[in-house]
Symmetry: none
Subunit: 220 residues, 2 copies
């Protein structure tokens, strides 16, 4: 498996032991960068307020504010965030609630680093992911519900060239300067820029750079 992104993630769980174990799983996993931890849903909301994670791993059962409520609020306030529910065992009803609240994935806590990475990447790209160890009962519940795994929106993927151009644009180079630097015609650069605007849905280069920053294409 090969991924081209580095995803910023956060973990919300009330047990420090689990958070530590989670961090151990992230060792030597450069594709996932843990940028914050929360002990409950309230802290998670505060955390997301100041950070900008791509994916949040959220325990369903937490004090103060549980994962389901946190998920609902997160999706309202930060529609772009991708949420993966966590539960200690197959707490079927709660998992379904979590998915209805907007989570796009679900993992049992005794997961492994492979699943962790796969789940994060899948939901980030617009898909859904369920723990392989998901109980038959939960599988049937999901199968019957609207949460059947499918890819909603094709992920916005940028070609290498487009990524280059986005980054150079973010460095305040003009189309002409980018063309010179990349040995391209300025018209080619303009074409790429148009495609980028179209893909990101941005109205102008400002929207594009915000998109780029949000999605980690450009680091500030």
């Amino acid at each position: 498996m090969n991924y081209k992104y580095i995803l910023k993630i956060v973990i919300a769980d009330d047990h420090q032991m689990f958070r530590e174990g989670f961090k151990v799983l992230l060792k030597n996993q450069p594709e996932l960068e843990l940028i914050g931890e929360a002990e409950n849903g309230k802290e998670l909301l505060e955390l997301v307020e100041i950070q900008t994670p791509h994916v949040a791993f959220v325990d369903i059962k937490m004090p103060v504010m549980d994962g389901i409520e946190a998920c609902k609020r997160l999706k309202t306030k930060f529609p772009d965030i991708h949420i993966i529910g966590l539960s200690s065992y197959n707490d079927d009803n709660l998992v379904v609630d979590m998915l209805e609240a907007g989570a796009k994935g679900y993992l049992l806590k005794n997961t492994n680093r492979q699943e962790l990475l796969e789940a994060a990447m899948t939901v980030y790209e617009g898909g859904v992911y369920y723990s392989k160890a998901t109980s038959d009962k939960l599988s049937r519940m999901i199968g019957k519900s609207k949460f059947n795994p499918y890819r909603i929106h094709p992920p916005v993927i940028f070609s290498k060239r487009e990524t280059d151009i986005i980054q150079l644009m973010c460095k305040q180079l003009t189309n002409r300067e980018i063309a010179t630097q990349l040995n391209l015609s300025i018209r080619t650069v303009e074409s790429h820029r148009e495609n980028i605007l179209q893909k990101t849905g941005a109205k102008n280069s400002i929207g594009m750079v915000i998109y780029a920053i949000k999605h980690g294409i450009y680091e500030i």
Copy 2:
């Protein structure tokens, strides 16, 4: 908000978790450079002995030597250092002690990067800064004491109008749309934009929006 310094800061707190969170808050905050950490007051004194921080963020409650004692000793030995007290909740009496010991600011630990930066800059420029979430009780205590809050305003680079326009630009409005929304002539908006570009040193609107995001003028 715009600051022209890069402040060297240190953090003293006995909880590694908090220090890590503190460091997260400093991400993308080029104005604050963390040059050292200490786990207690004693380590803090040793640290300041060999480093020269502009501002020290010091937890009040620490083992070995608490923040209050550390603050007193620091102010005696290094009168130029600026100290901001930290506490997990409104521990009113201790906060007052900390301020009497020479701290020029006080922050609750669940602060944000905006407050962090503002507090650091304010005390560095000779002012005092208290956490916005400071309890009413503490406010009264401070009000009665010699530590009457006042704020030295750092050189304000952006006027209210300019800030408005920056934020609308970040929302991908064109000059014309901004003019309409603010009931201004488009030429006025263009003038403001030119001033903003000049102030930020940005080459175009992309540089400006990156500046705005970096400095908390626009939240993404």
